[in-house]
């Protein structure tokens, strides 16, 4: 029955897929336009745009790791506490013990990996539900960061470390009004995107795979290019591209590549989709689960460093509640709570949906009370629309 349905309109399925895939992006644009209008253009002012990126970078970075964890069929509730703990560790090493920022950063990343490994060990090899293991981790690392800081705030960090969050890429052209390097970098990225998309398309047609209609392909990518160039133009007219944006973009591209193009990514989806079938097909399911947690630990450590550098101090309260934003970002971005489904770009968009709402509502002066209510409802609505569409399909 399905055969006749799809052979009649060969493009219908593709367009529908694209609509679902870009639905999130369209909602992000809609939300941004809404706040842009409501805040009389404050939202997209270069200064605010820069802030928006800085404020959300650590959520985005963790969402990359969380997406893998969720796709593999697990959850990690401890990431907020790990952010706090790593920040505390970094502060103790750099401020109290005067370590140089390079070895201190490396030590923090290793600590993150070990934390992930410890939790992943219980989840993967002892089959304790990840909800429980990481709930325990949440308490443990919250407590450990309190202990490490002895209840005090520790700071400030050395200047070179602060650049991680507050630095911008250097401008070789000394542009006064416009950071030319940043704009060029944006244009370069846009160009790279076009090349990559064209290659993908020629690969598809060469193998007679279904490809989207040509006009749609052109229109879609022109919109993307326009957005990237406009975005870097805006940023270039302030201080240029923040260092964090570069880190974030590289990580994003890396994880997008890993999930969509590599064998390890494919195996994670298979693991989350049907663990038994994956195992019987020769996938090392236990080790794979383990590594997704190690990866999550490292990314939580990166986020912890970025956050500590941004605040320029480590406080016992740092990271509280981050896990909720990160998990929400993944689900808003279309990940499935039962595993096997989800996209890196979706999670990133989800993180920005949350971020833009936080930022926009703050500008509008909406209290923290109703901000939470609205964010909760948006999360529910996003998942509802997803499930509703799936049921109709």
């Amino acid at each position: 029955m399905a055969e006749t349905n799809t052979t009649v309109h060969p493009h219908a399925g593709l367009l529908k897929n694209n609509l679902r895939e870009y639905g999130m992006l369209i909602s992000l644009v809609a939300i941004m336009s809404f706040f842009q209008f409501m805040t009389d253009g404050t939202l997209l002012q270069p200064l605010n745009l820069t802030n928006l990126i800085l404020q959300n970078s650590y959520i985005v970075i963790m969402a990359l790791g969380m997406l893998l964890v969720i796709v593999a069929g697990h959850i990690d509730l401890s990431v907020g506490s790990v952010v706090g703990f790593i920040g505390a560790l970094a502060a103790v090493l750099m401020v109290q013990y005067d370590w140089h920022f390079v070895p201190a950063t490396l030590a923090c990343l290793v600590a993150g990996a070990l934390i992930g490994a410890a939790q992943g060990w219980f989840v993967a090899f002892f089959r304790i539900p990840s909800f429980i293991v990481t709930l325990a981790g949440m308490l443990v690392f919250k407590g450990l960061s309190l202990a490490l800081l002895q209840g005090q705030s520790v700071g400030p960090f050395p200047g070179s470390f602060q650049l991680l969050s507050s630095g911008f890429i250097p401008d070789w052209f000394n542009g006064e009004l416009l950071r030319t390097t940043s704009l060029l970098a944006g244009i370069l990225v846009a160009f790279a995107l076009i090349v990559a998309k064209l290659r993908e398309r020629s690969n598809q047609t060469r193998h007679d795979m279904a490809a989207e209609p040509y006009p749609f392909f052109v229109a879609k990518n022109l919109v993307f290019v326009a957005i990237i160039v406009a975005f870097s133009w805006k940023l270039a007219s302030y201080k240029g591209l923040p260092n964090v944006l570069i880190i974030m973009t590289l990580l994003m591209l890396f994880y997008d590549f890993v999930t969509t193009r590599t064998t390890i990514g494919r195996r994670i989806y298979a693991l989350g989709g049907n663990e038994k079938a994956a195992r019987l097909s020769g996938v090392k399911t236990q080790w794979l689960s383990f590594w997704t947690f190690v990866n999550m630990g490292v990314l939580a450590a990166v986020a912890g460093l970025v956050f500590a550098a941004r605040l320029n101090t480590a406080t016992p309260k740092a990271g509280t509640g981050f896990e909720l934003d990160v998990i929400a970002a993944c689900f808003i971005g279309g990940a499935s709570a039962s595993g096997g489904v989800g996209k890196v770009l979706g999670a990133v968009i989800g993180a920005f949906v949350m971020g833009v709402m936080n930022n926009g509502m703050s500008i509008l002066g909406i209290g923290i009370d109703y901000q939470q209510v609205i964010k909760g409802l948006v999360l529910l609505a996003a998942v509802f629309v997803d499930v509703y569409n799936k049921r109709k399909a």
Binding site: T7, A210, T262, T263, L280, K284
Partner: protein, 508 residues
């Protein structure tokens, strides 16, 4: 007297016609078999009847006990006395028999359950269906056969007039199947009519009064078994719409040297570590040979196969696996695949497929290395490989980028087979490869097995359907309670001999 009449039922899904002008008439107190290939529309028809598709969602008329009925949902049809028992049983595993039987229908006063009444009534119902279990026993502790009986008891508790059973014996062994069929005959004498959906024509021949054949969404014909003798071939011809000269492909086996050997294989139960499940089995298979393993369900055949395949079942496993006379390491699934062993599971949805994922991704999963360079997947190559298998195995789909969940059982099975063929094994172990798939797809899978053997592979087939073992295999082992209790060559094997070796082993 006619109990149920469905007239001119037409049902469309998004413009695709699933049923067109189907007629079905069930007489009071008869067993009415509905047969057809997978995807013919049997389940859709039953969903129309039971109100899963409410009135207005389909065209046509349903008359039950002489009145026109317009069911708005399952509750409506159950109220009228039509109860459907699905293939996947709808019991809560960790609740007791009594709790399950009265689930949603508890004998209660002001919301407080009267457990004495519930247990007493359960006891009476269990006696009726011939199940000797305590009403407090948990469902999870019962075998599938007994669970089936609990479902029927549950139906009886609701004053059933028409019982619909969807593939009730698909996962039952022969003893349990026979008991179930006897129960249906017994219910018939009490005036309860029954619609039986099944692929097992021999069982239908035993109990059915009428057989209705559905093909491509239409009723093809109805056979009245009371007045004339109906042969299986007649029914099959109506089902597939073509002459089925031979149910098994012809072959001239060319058997070479011994390739695959299992020596003194012992496996313990994964939870009860001192229970021996496979008790010292020796098996060999030669190049180009199709070897069968017969036996009842629970004989340990799946456990044997899975434990050999990278210890994916059991604990404290001992014994040797040899390929070409050399002992090979099969201690993990990766190693077993590496030396050239493939295991095609009996449970394709649970253990064989990532259902939500594409056909192409499922096919490449066991051999991703062959479609990637340095861990980066070449999607073009993957698509090409999948398309080749689609053509070779005649997988019916719109495109290999389609999720497997929407395919019919036979086509899903072909995807699982394609996955393992792509892994290019020397020894292919097939566990119930034709379970729950239609006659046409069965023949295609048999043909494929014959081709594999002709190409010099060893094919080991586990099956509970003796005719297919006898029709295909060069040699058949008989397994019972963890042991091989018989071995027959093609020439000497027969259903009676196999059954006898099981029975005498059980008695010994």
């Amino acid at each position: 007297m006619t109990l149920l009449e469905m007239r001119g039922i037409t049902k469309r899904f998004h413009g695709v016609t699933a049923l067109s002008d189907v007629n079905l008439a069930v007489r009071a107190g008869e067993i009415h078999a509905v047969v057809g290939e997978n995807g013919a529309g049997k389940s859709t028809l039953m969903k129309v009847l039971s109100g899963v598709f409410p009135h207005g969602d389909y065209e046509g008329e349903i008359r039950f006990e002489g009145q026109e009925r317009r069911f708005a949902g399952i509750a409506d049809s159950e109220h009228a006395g039509i109860i459907i028992i699905h293939q996947e049983l709808a019991l809560v595993p960790l609740l007791s028999i009594a709790e399950n039987i009265f689930l949603g229908n508890e004998p209660a006063r002001f919301g407080v359950i009267d457990w004495f009444a519930a247990h007493a009534q359960t006891q009476a119902l269990l006696r009726k269906v011939g199940l000797n279990e305590h009403p407090g026993a948990l469902i999870t502790d019962l075998g599938v056969g007994k669970q089936q009986l609990v479902e029927i008891a549950k139906a009886l508790s609701k004053a059933v007039k028409l019982l619909i059973l969807d593939e009730p014996t698909a996962s039952l062994n022969e003893t349990d199947s026979d008991a179930l069929l006897a129960l249906l005959m017994e219910l018939k004498t009490q005036g309860i009519a029954c619609i039986l959906i099944s692929h097992k024509l021999n069982e239908i021949a035993k109990v059915a009064d009428t057989i209705t054949v559905i093909r491509d969404g239409s009723t093809v014909r109805s056979f009245d078994c009371c007045n004339e003798a109906i042969s299986e071939d007649q029914v099959i011809r109506a089902m597939v719409g073509r002459e089925m000269a031979d149910r098994y492909p012809k072959r001239t086996p060319e058997i070479g040297e011994t390739v695959f050997e299992i020596r003194d294989w012992r496996v313990h139960h994964p939870e009860h570590a001192d229970r021996l499940v496979v008790k010292g089995v020796n098996l060999h298979a030669r190049r180009g040979e199709i070897v069968g393993i017969a036996g009842l369900i629970g004989a340990g055949r799946t456990e044997l196969a899975m434990s050999v395949f990278g210890r994916s079942y059991g604990r404290r496993i001992s014994g040797e696996v040899k390929l070409h006379g050399r002992v090979v390491d099969v201690s993990t699934i990766q190693k077993a695949i590496g030396v050239g062993i493939a295991y095609v599971t009996e449970d394709r949805k649970g253990y064989g497929l990532v259902l939500e994922d594409d056909i192409q991704h499922n096919i490449s999963l066991a051999n991703l290395g062959a479609v990637s360079h340095a861990a980066v997947i070449d999607e073009g190559r993957e698509f090409k490989v999948a398309s080749e298998y689609r053509q070779k195995l005649r997988i019916r789909c719109a495109s290999v980028s389609q999720p497997v969940v929407n395919l019919s059982g036979g086509n899903q099975q072909k995807v699982v087979l394609a996955k393992w063929l792509f892994a290019n094994p020397e020894v292919l172990i097939l566990d119930e490869p034709t379970r729950g798939i239609d006659v046409g797809a069965k023949f295609e899978i048999y043909t494929l097995m014959v081709e594999l053997a002709a190409a010099g592979k060893c094919v080991v087939m586990i099956s509970s359907e003796m005719p297919e073992l006898l029709g295909l295999c060069d040699r058949i082992y008989v397994m019972n309670e963890g042991r091989f209790v018989g071995e027959f060559d093609r020439a000497e094997a027969s259903q009676e001999k196999i059954m006898r070796s099981i029975v005498t082993a059980a008695a010994a």
